[in-house]
Structures are given as C-alpha cells and as structure tokens.
C-alpha cells in the first residue's frame, strides 16, 4: 500500500507537531510513503494540477495533514482541492481516478478533545466538523478512514508523544490500523528489524525474541478463547 501525505501548514518548519510527525516516518517506511508539503512545493501558491493528479494516481491512501483552523484547513489545501479535484478526474463523466482509494485526515487541534461534543466549548464533534471531507470522499468514491486527531500536542507528556509516534506510523502504513491483530503483526515485524546496536544491552536480541514469542503466544490464546466462544454460540 502506498500512502501520500499531503501536508498544509503556513509555517511548517516552526510547527513542533508537524516536525514531530514528519520525523516519525522511518527510512524503511519511506519506500511506500510520500511526504508532500504544499507550502514548500508551491511557495508562490501556483499549483501544478497535472503533477498533483499524477501523484494521486500513484497512491492508495491519501492523507490530508493540517492544523485544524476554523474547523477547516489552511488556505493552500483548499486551493489544492479546488484546482486538483476537477471534474472528469475526481468526479463526473470518467471522473473515477480516485475510486477505491482511501482518504484520511491527520488533524492537529489546539483545543482539548472533551470540548468537541455537545455541551463542550466547541459544541460539535470532529465527526460533524469534518463532514466536507467525508462528502469529498463519498463523491470521489474513496473510502473515508477514521481521522487521526491530535489534541493539544504541546501539552502532551513524553510518554504520550511516543505513543502518538507509533500510532501515526501505523495510521500511515496499515490497513485497519485500529485492529489489535493488525498492530500485533506490525509490532512483530518492527521488532524483527529494529537495530540491535542502538540497544545498549548485552542480551537485547534475546529479549526482543522473547517479546515476539510472548506476543505470538498471547495471540494463540486469544484466538483459542474466541473459538470456544464462537463454538458455544453455534
């Protein structure tokens, strides 16, 4: 699966959350992940729509990544939508070039999560406020995947930031990134390829192998329990 991350941010170099996310993508992931920063590619704001359309065609999952300003994106991403997602390409007669792809959002949000609900300061949920993107996916026959919403990055603890790093890596690369089984498989692959030399411990490799065994054993037990429950209901 190839993922295109379209980033829009007026000052991406100054944004600690955007820099954190960009740095989270490891070298091995980069073969299947394209990071595309609109403000860097088009400092004059003039978008090459033929190039953008070709880029879209080459990828399976399209992510819009931006700070959630006034319940929407920064202006260059809106301009991109207007100029790139044209009739006969994205919709209308023969406009099926995006059909079957996935659309996701990576939102950095300055206000706490609890405010995005009825009775909260913002009053509406992220699901409600992102309706235009959901409608865009629907019209272009893409499937809309659950957004990755990052609330108040600046206030997150180091532990939360590390958790975000892994969640983001999974969100960018995995089919069904929420499933435990999928994440177990991902974890095992990552552990198999992690560099032993940066783990400054003598028995590091042994611990890594024991961890993989433990995750696999747990999975077997989980599948067995599930089988017993299913058998009982048959």
């Amino acid at each position: 699966m190839k993922t295109l991350i379209i980033i829009s941010h007026p000052e991406v170099d100054q944004s600690s959350s955007q820099q954190f996310l960009i740095q989270s993508i490891s070298d091995t992931m980069r073969t299947n992940v394209t990071v595309h920063i609109l403000e860097k590619t088009y400092p004059d704001g003039k978008i090459d729509s033929a190039y953008e359309q070709a880029l879209l065609k080459k990828h399976d999952r399209i992510l819009f990544q931006f700070p959630f300003y006034w319940y929407s994106s920064p202006p260059l991403l809106k301009k991109w939508q207007d100029e790139v997602l044209t009739e006969h390409f994205a919709f209308g007669y023969r406009g099926d070039k995006l059909a079957g792809k996935e659309l996701g959002l990576v939102l950095s949000i300055g206000i706490a999560e609890k405010e995005y609900q009825t009775g909260g300061q913002e009053g509406y949920s992220i699901s409600e406020l992102t309706k235009p993107y959901q409608a865009l996916a629907r019209k272009t026959k893409m499937s809309f995947i659950r957004p990755l919403s990052i609330f108040q990055f600046a206030y997150q603890s180091e532990q939360e930031k590390r958790r975000l790093l892994v969640r983001y890596q999974q969100y960018v690369t995995l089919k069904r990134p929420d499933s435990l089984k999928t994440r177990e498989k991902w974890m095992i692959e990552e552990l198999k390829t992690t560099a032993i030399d940066t783990l400054k411990m003598d028995n590091a490799e042994f611990i890594i192998n024991q961890t993989i065994d433990q995750i696999e054993d747990n999975r077997m037990e989980l599948d067995e329990l599930r089988m017993h429950i299913d058998n009982f209901h048959d």
Binding site: R162, Q210, L222, I229, F232
Partner: protein, 60 residues
Amino acid sequence: MDEQEWVVTELDRLFHASQDYKQKALMQAAAEIIREQEIRKEQLQGELDGTLWSPGNWSN
C-alpha cells in the same frame, strides 16, 4: 514473576538503554501491546464464563 511480567520488565530496561527515540517509542509500544493483549484475554475469558453460566443454556 511469570514470563509475561519478565518480558515487560526487560522491555522497560531496553527502553532506557536505547539511544534512538523511535526505538524507545517501539519498546514502550511493545510493552503496551502485551498489556493490551492481557486485558483482551481477561475480557474474552469473562465472556466465555458468562456464556457457560447463562441460565438460558442450562436446559441443554
């Protein structure tokens, strides 16, 4: 200490020993996924127990 606890404790040591930020995040996530599996096991065990003890099935 059972094997699972041992693995989680050792992962914490690897977390502290690692000199790479992304690798630290991976070690933390490995320990967290093992704990998550443990919770899922308890939930499924609870579901199984509940199913076995359901009075609706006593006549079978």
